[in-house]
Symmetry: C2
Subunit: 332 residues, 2 copies
Amino acid sequence: MGWKGEMTDPSFPTFDDVRAAAGRLAGYAVRTPLLSCPALDALTGGRVRLKAEPLQRTGTFKFRGAFNALSKLDEAGRARGVVAFSSGNHAQGVAEAARLLGMKATIVMPSDAPGIKQRGVVARGAVLRLYDRDTESREEIAAEISAATGAVVIPAFDHPDIIAGQGTAGLEIFETLAAEGLHADQLICCVGGGGLIAGINLAAEALSPQTRIWGAEPDGFDDTARSLASGRRESNARRSGSLCDALLSETPGVLTFAINQPRLTGVGVISDADALRAMRFAFEHMKIVLEPGGAAALAAVLAGRVDVADSLSVVVLSGGNVEPELFARALA
Amino acid sequence: MGWKGEMTDPSFPTFDDVRAAAGRLAGYAVRTPLLSCPALDALTGGRVRLKAEPLQRTGTFKFRGAFNALSKLDEAGRARGVVAFSSGNHAQGVAEAARLLGMKATIVMPSDAPGIKQRGVVARGAVLRLYDRDTESREEIAAEISAATGAVVIPAFDHPDIIAGQGTAGLEIFETLAAEGLHADQLICCVGGGGLIAGINLAAEALSPQTRIWGAEPDGFDDTARSLASGRRESNARRSGSLCDALLSETPGVLTFAINQPRLTGVGVISDADALRAMRFAFEHMKIVLEPGGAAALAAVLAGRVDVADSLSVVVLSGGNVEPELFARALA
């Protein structure tokens, strides 16, 4: 499947693409652990395993999709470099993948993105182009850069290679459980554009079809929850205003929604306060640093949006790139 | 080997005891991951793996030794209950092991121990007896409780069962590396009373004898460093005054020093500022919560006390039970 500088290829990724992505990522991505937390089990009355993507390279799962996509570019594509727009985590994934592959990357990032994410991009040698989230179009900026330089645009979620790359997290989850003779009754994962949960759905369908898959979205950015209800891709009224900066996509992707719609059992919607409480819980009982969006799935469980009692559940902790000031606020 | 309510049995633990402890811990302790951190590798010019004991049950390695010791008590011993004195982490390990085994536990803890550790003991159903670190003797208090109730005293480090239990962390490290076809050139681990590093030394001697083992101690509490220099067990002048509350033992143990003395390559001494910097590094680049003492080995590497360039090194992250206020200070 070729890259055309845009998300023009509507082909569905398959589980074979997830497996192929895992082969490309081997030796580059961290095979993150599937943790246990006795305190969480005691609190919920269930058995919960936690996929710890904050321990992934760049602090989130986003490196998986970015590296998979970039490593599929041919030599001419690599020479032209890449451009990506992102609230921050995809940006770091692309910057890191480009660095490892010796490519030039330009990142278009909102000016209100956490400083830790902006610094992470610059530290990896990428060019940072800031924009105003409320008045500028990141798509247009990226298209202009692409037109001027020939750089390939790497979308954040709505592309088969991105979805397949993120799906390697799901592959690892189900492989790890199978090696322990276990299968998950359910899995809860945050939803922004839906790339991670779409990839996980592909892995679940192949390896653990009986597992119910739940999303978790922030208040006011529950486009996937409302899209599931209406049967078509709904948009959010706002573009900012949640602590979960990683989950503020305007609408589900075309590909991701097509994959997710028939496969999701439901979506738990959580508040900023729920996210902060989950961050605090992870600090005290798991010793894992979570960013608000990365805590969304755990927050949905702790807030009772998804009932995990008397079952084996997997909660995806998706990222940990949070400003010290905000983290301190979660702990206060 | 029997428990006599005191650390009266001077028999040396062996690697067989470590293996036996691993059998007892299976299904109770978390087999913690041996993480990679590309940012740390880039910074140090070495390849570093991190044993993540903050992810252990109770947030530190201490559960390993405590559970091993308690599970070896006979029925009469279990019925009498246990008493332990500890700055906090051993306390939580004993409280949690007692809870899992249905035993009564009394914990003697300094009144300046972090609240998170005091709460952790109470939450696990143990009785908490606070004392003044500068004016009272925790040994005497524990002996009084033992005399009055028949409870068995569980020492924090200087006992074969404790050392063997902590050694399971080392067993896991070397098993994991071997499964990946790797061997460590060196390993760096914090030293309080020396129980963890003694157990790791037993595992290293059996499984990875070429690995050089380094300690890490806080400024002013470098009793093991000075003991190695003088050839006999030296004491610290102070009993408090370091942020590394987990590493303030007055002097190396009899058993632990006998094990460690011939096996340690050296000890890196670190400051409070070094520990805070390592906590911040782990927050930003590993997404792991470390307490100051739990960050000591990483601090020794980041401060250049142990050179890890051009080698494969294991750094033991030993604990993550830190007050939110102190953690926020490390991030500031």
